[in-house]
Amino acid sequence: MTAALRVVAPGLMTTLQDLGRPGYQRLGVPISGALDHVSLRAANLLAGNPPGMGALEIFYQGPTLAVETDSARIAVAGGQTPIDILSPDGSAVRRLGAWESARLLRGQTLKIGALAGSAIAYLAVEGGFAIAPVMGSQSTLTRGGIGGLQGRALREGDMLPLRQPAAAEREEAMLPPLDLAPPPRIRIVLGPQDDHFTPAGLRTLLESPYTISRASDRMGMRLEGPVLEHSPKGANIVSDGTAPGSIQVPGNGLPIVLLADRQTTGGYPKIATVISADLPTLGRMAPGAKLSFSTVDVAAAESAARRLAADIAAMAGQIAPARRGLSIDHAKLMAENLISGTVDAREGT
């Protein structure tokens, strides 16, 4: 029988994602990929995988998965998510935190509850999922039915085939949790169509708090707050390209930040673009959360990208063997600030 994880409960919106499929945007194919690639990389490092390997992206409410192979090593990164390992009869084997790997045996079940401290977490399996990449990527684009498991989110009863029938013999790994607290302000570069807004409209964007709408998805984060005033140039443009983090403002004046599954082109003016270093931060922010913006120039955005890449590179050096029986006091680690702030970049694309 093929090694697999069986989906007992799918969670709210669980999809397979990696670093995305750049290279096909001119055909209209979105890049997709992890909303928070920093946590994706962390999960893979813990599981002993290359950092960009496909893993399950968990949104808000995690799945329950049964192990249908001799053994499997898993790791979850993102937030302070409680993970329960249950025996076949449903009794608890142990509780695991995020940011450490664990070996599960056949028949055991992994139950991930409601996420805390982040809207997004990643579950990586040692060796990865045996799912053929589509156009170079395992990422799921549900809107196009492309990639992942049949181009859709997980459903109850799905079998997720694994590349590795058994976990390698080695010590479990842990990582000091990343500081996932959102920065006071999300950094943006103005343009390309900031001239479609009045000075008052630009001021509103920079001076007002916005709330992340529940109508947000992997394509775009809709923001609720004061309306941005368009200039006489108006709310329609002859369609042009979009970028990851483009903030488009349709006629109703409410901004939408374009995320991983964003359309490649669009006909609404884009007032600004979230810098690449702040996109994973944005990706892990939950609906209902508040955010505000500050502007930087492209040079500052580039140095932020470099800093984040350096932090990501340093992450591998922070992997430590997990002491058996000792659970990590995450709150303490966070308080001691063992890891520097936001870690991020767009390496590999």
Binding site: Y24, G241, R346, E347
Partner: protein, 294 residues
């Protein structure tokens, strides 16, 4: 040698003499010869689009090279010509390019290539840039203009005062040029819509537009490769799969190609659809007409 104006910073404080922009055709007549007067020179009629685009930042991973703000074949030709030159230049750190109606979106990796550096690489490639002749392929795409499939066909006929048959005849007979691909995998934006069909988008967008729907709005036609929400007026439906993962590349069409629609009956449509489902409907582009080779 053409003078290239590079603008750092976010929005170009455009030299009004240097670019023709939108509806303000103020461009110096003669090719660059310094010093340039900064006084806009009134001219009698709009000049052709300038090959001196604006650089607009789209964050730290994308740069917009914008040639204008209209749907225009010359602009589109310049965009495609620059895309070709950039492709040949194989610049390390340049990830991919998306040609659009009027601008080229250049996606890059800021860890390998800075914005300033990228502008420095693009600028010399603008020198002597000419709108690419349609080197694209020519397609005849089967289309069924039956009211059971063209859900807005009757409505559009009423709004234009034409018969349904005449709508089908005029729309299918027009030469449609693909300005860009976008919105959905494999979805082409076609220009060349006869002006009588220029309608605003539907007031109530449909939640589900079926795959293969051929729809019009403003001055364009789109063909939906996949089922999708959409607010355009559906005139017809094609059985041709515009997006097929069994194909490489999966997209049938590309920016720069031209399309005419070949009307087919409902019965032919259904037969072709069955062929397509079996992966047996293979469309090939037509050979280029002689005058294009000359």
């Amino acid at each position: 040698m053409r003078e290239i104006e590079l603008r750092s910073g976010r929005r170009g404080q455009a030299n009004p003499n240097a670019t023709i922009y939108g509806k303000t055709p103020q461009r110096r007549r003669a090719p660059a010869r310094a010093p340039v007067s900064l006084t806009p020179r009134p001219i009698a009629e709009p000049m052709p689009p300038s090959p001196q685009p604006r650089f607009l930042p789209a964050g730290d991973t994308a740069l917009v090279v914008e040639f204008g703000d209209r749907v225009d074949r010359t602009l589109s030709g310049l965009v495609l010509a620059l895309a070709r030159r950039l492709e040949e230049a194989a610049i390390p750190g340049l990830v991919e390019m998306v040609p659009t109606f009027r601008s080229l979106m250049v996606h890059y990796d800021p860890l390998q290539l800075g914005e300033a550096q990228l502008k420095g690489r693009v600028a010399p490639l603008l020198d002597g840039l000419e709108a690419a002749e349609s080197a694209g392929r020519r397609w005849r795409i089967p289309a069924c203009y039956d009211a059971s499939l063209g859900l807005d066909l009757t409505d559009v006929a009423e709004r234009t005062g034409l018969s349904v048959a005449e709508v089908a005849r005029r729309h299918s007979g027009a030469l449609h040029h693909i300005y860009m691909m976008g919105f959905l995998p494999g979805l082409p934006y076609l220009g060349g819509l006869p002006p009588e069909f220029e309608l605003p988008r539907r007031e109530n967008p449909r939640i589900k537009v079926p795959s293969g729907a051929i729809a019009v709005a403003m001055s364009m036609t789109v063909v939906y490769p996949l089922e999708s929400p959409g607010g355009w007026h559906i005139l017809a439906r094609t059985p041709a799969p515009l997006w097929d993962m069994r194909r490489n590349p999966p997209a049938l069409l590309a920016a720069g190609d031209t399309v005419t629609f070949e009307p087919v009956s409902l019965r032919e449509y259904e037969a072709l659809l069955a062929q397509a489902a079996a992966g047996e409907l293979r469309l090939s582009p037509e050979p280029a007409p002689r005058e294009q080779r000359a």
